[in-house]
């Protein structure tokens, strides 16, 4: 079954590269949107220059008839607007791949094994619009023709995107699009893939990871966001500020990250489901209030779209280096939950899960995504709204359902019953550590929530016994959460007979999965574990995964091997660590190379045993 997934009839990658202001990204996004209206899956990956304008930027789109797990290693179709884009990307072109380029701007190496497709993009744009601008739309028309996309689909997408800029802009774009189509038809090139739209009822949204988080928050019932702009998390905040009023919610931009999370504490205390999007440097500033939220046992979701660090680091590049800060950062020991979505679609569903956990266990949940997942666009299945269960009082803490398109639950924090308000104990010791929480407006529910060590009613209490009991109470919730995670079906893939295990977290899931397929093609059996629950870890599941493995590889995008440290400390294993710390996502080829090396070591051990 999984083998078949790897063998696709439709699977190709288009990369468009050019100057920062060339409209490269919008060209690629419109193409991706058109492709997403077919029955195929679409996945995009973008790199922007950090500068406002200028510098090399590119977008890569992969289209496939099965779920796509990574951006792919090689490019089938390369569209380049200038020499820099050509020079930077030509080495990734697949043998026999196609290169579409502007012969007035790009000099190509004709000895390459490639199909050359010269188009005077700038000249044609000038003819259509009177400006150099618009060459991206000419290129879009060409791609439309090349993949048999209905012209009406692209026309509608252009109208949706540029509609607010007035009719003259639309008209110019339409004639640029027309030019592209005409030019495409002129060339007699074999059309390998057809992206004609068949069915009308949409099953997919086309979202970036950042948009998926924003929409997931709204789907989870969140109606309050406070934030501060920071690359690469800003699009989550922008999307939420735009959407909140439409669903009756409130969005506020604060003066800094400390104020943002402070506003979250106030709003959560007042009973709302709340979120703040940020990146590493912002999370760091939020430390003190994250601590307070844990101490006050207030639900909240913090999204850290990780970028390259330390300090200002690589604001527009990806890295998985905030893990330890997310788990352990802040003074004292304050429990919180860390989830790491593995794909764009997962961003949507894990965000809903993050809210459910925050509300159910009354603690902050940090969602760790990263730049590569945040800026990537992919198809996300629209959830089935007839299968959403709303739970308002769930103090049973039974296994927590992983939300999916087929079935999900929306959880809201447990409030005290009328009789519990008599001599109300906000921080009552319970079996699970979770105590019913009153919200303002509830008569008799008044209490003081203090960051000082406090007793069951909330009164400051520094006695040794109370401190221990209260710490235990807060950590009990984490223990129950870990138990709930262990109830979920195992999340590892590959043969149970494998001697090589590979563990990753977050956005590397797709690359590792594809590396496993590559390995299996070569007869190397690999078992892959990719927990979405980073803290607490589903310990039972991991122990089960580790049984029988001779070698374990831990893959992550940082320098020091943060997740590997965690795995080593918890399970006493000695993994081989594969780190990538270059600001770009790790590819399946890079992982495969290591798997092969490890396989050789394991083989040699077998020989010694013989």
């Amino acid at each position: 079954m999984e083998k078949k997934e790897f063998k696709s009839d439709v699977d190709f990658t288009v990369r468009i590269g050019g100057e920062g202001g060339d409209g490269v990204i919008s060209c690629g996004e419109l193409f991706a949107k058109a492709a997403a209206r077919t029955e195929f899956h679409v996945f995009t990956y973008i790199t922007y220059p950090a500068e406002m304008r200028g510098g090399f930027s590119m977008i890569q789109i992969r289209v496939r008839d099965w779920t796509i797990y990574s951006m792919g290693s090689e490019v089938d179709y390369l569209v380049v607007f200038n020499q820099e884009a050509y020079d930077n990307t030509i080495s990734d072109l697949k043998k026999g791949g196609m290169i579409i380029y502007d012969p007035d701007a790009v000099e190509v190496d004709e000895s390459l094994d490639a199909v050359f497709f010269p188009v005077q993009l700038t000249k044609l744009a000038n003819e259509a619009t009177g400006y150099d601008l618009g060459k991206n739309v000419v290129a879009l028309g060409m791609l439309g023709s090349l993949f048999n996309i209905s012209k009406s689909v692209l026309q509608k997408l252009i109208k949706d995107r540029y509609g607010s800029k007035g009719t003259s802009v639309i008209e110019k774009n339409m004639s640029a699009l027309e030019k592209g189509y005409v030019e495409g038809e002129k060339q007699s090139i074999e059309k390998k893939f057809h992206l004609k739209t068949e069915n009308e009822k949409p099953t997919y949204m086309m979202l970036s990871g950042n948009e998926a988080v924003a929409l997931g928050a709204i789907a989870a019932g969140c109606r309050f966001v406070a934030g501060y702009p920071i690359t690469p998390a800003t699009p989550i905040f922008e999307t939420l500020t735009k959407l909140m009023p439409k669903v009756g919610g409130r969005a506020i931009q604060m003066e800094d990250e400390i104020a943002s999370i402070s506003a979250l504490i106030g709003a959560s205390f007042a009973g709302e489901k709340v979120i703040t999007p940020t990146s590493g440097p912002g999370l760091q500033l939020m430390g003190e209030q994250l601590n307070l939220a844990s101490m006050l046992e207030l639900p909240m979701v913090i999204v850290d779209v990780q970028r390259g660090g330390p300090s200002t680091g690589l604001p527009t590049k990806t890295e998985q280096s905030d893990l330890k800060f997310a788990i352990y950062g802040t003074a004292g020991e304050s429990p919180r939950c860390i989830l790491a979505p593995t794909s764009v679609e997962d961003c949507f569903y894990q965000t809903i899960r993050a809210f459910n956990i925050a509300e159910k266990y009354q603690m902050p949940v940090i969602l760790l995504t990263d730049q590569s997942i945040g800026y990537r666009k992919a198809t996300v299945k629209i959830p089935d709204f007839s299968h959403i269960v709303e739970i308002f009082k769930d103090n049973v803490l039974r296994s927590s359902l992983i939300p999916s398109a087929e079935r999900m639950e929306i959880v809201t924090r447990v409030i005290p019953e009328k009789e519990e308000l008599e001599g109300y104990k906000r921080f009552k010791f319970t079996e699970t550590g979770v105590s019913p929480v009153s919200v303002p407006g509830m008569e008799g529910g008044q209490y003081v929530a203090t960051g000082l060590a406090h007793n069951e009613v909330g009164k400051a209490d520094y006695s040794p016994k109370n401190h221990l009991e209260m710490t235990r109470k807060r950590f009990k919730k984490l223990k129950y959460l870990s138990k709930a995670f262990d109830q979920n079906p195992p999340e590892f893939y590959g043969s149970v007979d494998s001697e090589i295990g590979i563990i990753g977290w977050g956005s590397t899931e797709g690359a590792i999965r594809e590396a496993r397929y590559l390995a299996e093609e070569k007869g190397i059996m690999v078992r892959h574990l990719h927990p979405k629950e980073i803290s607490p870890l589903p310990e039972k599941q991991i122990r089960h995964f580790l049984v029988g493995l001779k070698q374990i590889i831990v893959v992550e995008e940082n320098y020091t091997g943060q997740f590997a440290h965690f795995i080593k400390a918890k399970f006493g294993v000695h993994p081989i660590e594969l780190h990538k710390c270059e600001g770009s996502p790790i590819s399946s080829r890079e992982i495969m190379a290591v798997i092969e090396k490890v396989a050789r070591i394991t083989d040699e051990e077998h020989i010694t045993e013989l």
Partner: protein, 283 residues
Amino acid sequence: MKNTSQNYKSAIKPVWCPGCGNYAILKSLQKALSELEIEPENIVTVSGIGCSGRFSHYMNTYSLHGTHGRAVPTALGAKAARPDLTVLCVGGDGDGLGIGGGHIPHAARKNVDLTYILIDNRIYGLTKGQSSPTTPIDKRTKTSPYGVYEEPLNAIAMLLAYDTSFIARISSLQMKEMVEILKEAINHKGFSVINVMSPCVTFPVLGYDTVRDLIKPIPENHDPSDKLKAMQLAYDDTKLYTGIFYKVQKPTLEDNLNKQIEDAVSVEDNQKVTVEELLEKYV
């Protein structure tokens, strides 16, 4: 049952030093709330860190004793999320003008409808006598053994510069007036700040005598919309004027957020967009 001050008292006994100016503020606030007949369950009290931080423990409201300097944005979040609540915020000169000083202009810009009691004793009392942003120049404290060399901040002048929509000053020696000013501040739609000069008996940088000597009511003919005149009164360092310096009406944060919702909803035929409809727009 008619609300009395008693209804706003929590079961926790204050730990302030006997004679602390904070007792008068606590009593005045509880009296003001009972006279305004706001139900305790509809009030949120947020306080920061310091002697004044303990305020929330002593109020029978939904009370939040948070971190140092973050009381104002925390209170702002509560009010923005739940405009139906009465939100109070309490902090000292260290909390509000030192560590949390950066938040005040933004609360003023947003004009969030909450009442901020900025208590000033010109010293860090809870940590036992270090200089604060309002400690007078040359004053020797535990962290200024050779005398403070920084100029003290002028809270009223700062608040005026931020265009805070309600600015008043009172002292712990004037309970009767304080009750009235608190009532007016709570009734004011917008960010209302009351700077309360409150003597510390243990580290008496600001002693009762000093307060008694310096306080003087703002002239009765002062027009509270006259910002320049208010600024003049604020900068008169021979006196500590008490009363309402400045008061103007402008849209509040809640007004603006509600308007966003109303506008968005009116575009969609006076219906909130359902989550399902929202997702379909991303197809």
